[in-house]
Amino acid sequence: MTPRPMRFLLNLSFRYKVPLWGSLLIVGTAAIISSTLLLGSYQELKSDLLRDATTQGRTMTASLFPAMLHDQVWRAYEIIRAPFGRESGEHPVQAESFVVLDQRGQVYVSTTPEAIPMLADFRQLSPDYAALATAIAQPGHDTKVLEPDGSEHLFVTTPIREEQAHLGTLVQIYSKKVLHSRFQKSAEQAALTAVLVIVLLLPLGWYWGQRTAVPLVRLTERMEELGRRLPDNLAPELYDYQDELGRLYHAYNRTLQELRGKAEIERQMIHSERLAAIGKLTAGIAHEINNPLLGMLTAVNTLRHHGELNPRTLKTLTLLERGLIQIKDTVGALLVEAKVRSRDLSPQDMEDVRTLIEPQARARGVSLRWDSQLSAPLPLPSTAVRQVLINLLLNAVQASAPGGEVAVTIGTRSGSDTSLALVVVNGGEILTDMQTAHLFEPFANEDERGRGLGLWVCYQIVRQLGGNIAVQSDLRDGAGRTAFEVTLPLGAAQ
């Protein structure tokens, strides 16, 4: 299992995690590069030192040989002292001391005579030197670099010899502290550079982290909402690139679009299923009522003509008959039968409807704009289509305020199936959401003007003819606009 603090880090929001990891990466990179360079420079410093020391040692031993041979101590001192600037300034890596040992390991001369005096036994001076003396004692012809364990010094030893004559050894002593302090200087410089780089790169990293994280965070918030409701689209300007995140945005918006479409279809399906159920129920009830009703009307009629009736009974019968006829009318209206045999629809039928409606429109002060493009009969039942158009027009005229206008467009639409299109538009008050939801249900819009069966009849007819009826009601430029559009496929009813 991941430990708790790690878990906490991993659970952090991308908003913090991305910049944090980015920063860590920058800091880590800076650290690794700096330390690699530093290590390299330390090794270089050391190898430079050793190379210089070796060359210097060989040069010095060449002139030390005759000086020792003739026991010229002062000459030897001058030779080994020469590399140390008299007013000892900043030498790249200043040696701590040069020592000339004779064959017995005694100090012949040294540049630091107070610490390493002449004639002293070199081995006795320090444990470092004792270890060194043993290494020197081993025969060898060339320069050796010695680094005793735990010692703070580096030693370069060169034998002082010519041909077979071995007079002694030159020991160059370097303090590692000098190397370390030089190293420290470079380390400080490197650290400073690294800090500068970090200071420059961190805000950049943080910014890019945010740029990536914020769109992700928004997307996540939206996705979490998906279960509860359909969230809003993501603003494309939030992340307008074509990388994976950008594509994710596109995919999200597309998915959302599809989900919306699906929800709309579901809503419509539920609506039409309800209407269908109501239609079925209504038709069933109407049939059930129609049969006894016809019997009762027949009985009343028979009684009226054959019986010797007193005026009171006659009045009652008339009352009964009127009630029964009203029931019959209502049931008849509910029982829409579109597929009764009828002649084809002709352009004249449309003109008839216009003639029929115009007086009513004039009475309400509503003008009628008529645009019929029918020029030949269409294979549709004329009675049913006329009925639909009349109902829609009556509604439109009644919905319009005085001085308003009702526009009618009649035409054919060619597509995969050629269809008749009727569009009726009025400029009255727009429909409420509630009204729209129950628009085609019987008695849904019952008011003082009627029972609200007009649209129900339209809907039944259109559905039976395999067509579609849709309404669009909204505000345009401050004025209401309600349009009913009916499409009827040609030939479907025949």
């Binding site: 026991d71 010229q72 101590v73 002062w74 001192y77 001369v109 005579p113 107070e114 005096p117 002449m118 004639l119």
Partner: protein, 283 residues
């Protein structure tokens, strides 16, 4: 920097270009210099030579050697006309040389040997405490830098060859002071004239040494001439030296040499040195 004959002649050539010399008919006088004096003051030496040439109206050639021994050899072979040499070589070669002039140092024709030790060893108060230590000598033929300390040990009943653990020669009093100052040697015997002059010029070096004791006075290192030198040359040079303090240019040079002038001097000035030499069976 070590002065070689070549670089010295080079310096002379530069000088010759810088200041056109009058054409001298006679052949050059060869004057030897020992490392006791002026050995590193090349500018001063060149000026002194120019001064001599102007006064003597003939070319002067300066011959420098790194050890007394080499100058002594040149004198013996009569390759030098004059030379400024140490007291010891003068007494040593007395029969072949004539005394020309003796410098006046602190208004006296004398100098001494100073016993000096490193300033880090203030507990050392006299020569006997340097037993078994490292001791620096100036030159094998130096009076103050070799002969006197050995003579003193001999008087103490010691064998100078065994008294010290180690001895070495620096071939220059100046370097000897450095050797003691650096602690390379624990003690050394040095020319008082050099130590005093150095203290005036570079006190940072002498400050690192301690003056432990002073010897009795000895005759100051003289200017000598080979016996075979023509009398005219001898007296010309002698007069020139003795008269140096009488003219401004000469006294300016003397001041820079840290001397008061030159006097005729007498050979018995050096009897004390001769006595020390006899103790070692020399002279």
């Amino acid at each position: 920097m070590k002065l070689t004959r070549r670089t010295f002649l080079g310096a002379c050539a530069v000088l010759a270009v810088a200041r056109p010399r009058p054409a001298f008919p006679a052949k050059a006088l060869r004057v030897g210099m020992t490392p006791a004096f002026l050995h590193t003051q090349h500018g001063l030496l060149a000026e002194w030579r120019a001064y001599m040439e102007a006064r003597l109206r003939r070319p002067v050639e300066i011959v420098q050697r790194d050890s007394y021994r080499e100058t002594m050899d040149l004198l013996r072979q009569e390759q030098l006309d004059f030379s400024w040499i140490c007291t010891y070589p003068y007494v040593f070669l007395k029969r072949q040389l004539r005394l020309v002039a003796v410098p006046l140092y602190q208004s006296q024709p004398y100098y001494r040997a100073y016993l000096i030790v490193s300033a880090k060893n203030p507990q050392i108060k006299d020569l006997s405490q340097l037993r078994g230590k490292v001791f620096a000598y100036a030159d094998p033929y130096s009076c103050t830098g070799h002969l006197y300390p050995r003579y003193q040990l001999r008087k103490m009943g010691e064998d100078p060859a065994k008294f010290f653990a180690k001895t070495f020669f620096t071939y220059s009093h100046h370097k000897l002071i450095e050797a003691v100052a650096d602690g390379l040697a624990q003690g050394g015997s040095v020319d008082s004239y050099v130590w005093d002059s150095l203290q005036a010029l570079k006190p940072e070096i002498t400050r690192r040494t301690l003056l432990v004791s002073k010897s009795p006075e000895f005759g100051f290192p003289p200017i000598v001439a080979r016996r075979s030198l023509p009398e005219a040359d001898f007296s010309a040079v002698q007069t020139m030296l003795v008269m140096m303090r009488r003219d401004p240019q000469g006294s300016e040079l003397l001041q820079r040499l840290n001397l008061n002038g030159f006097i005729h001097g007498r050979p018995n000035l050096y009897d004390g040195v001769a006595e020390m030499m006899r103790a070692f069976g020399e002279g």
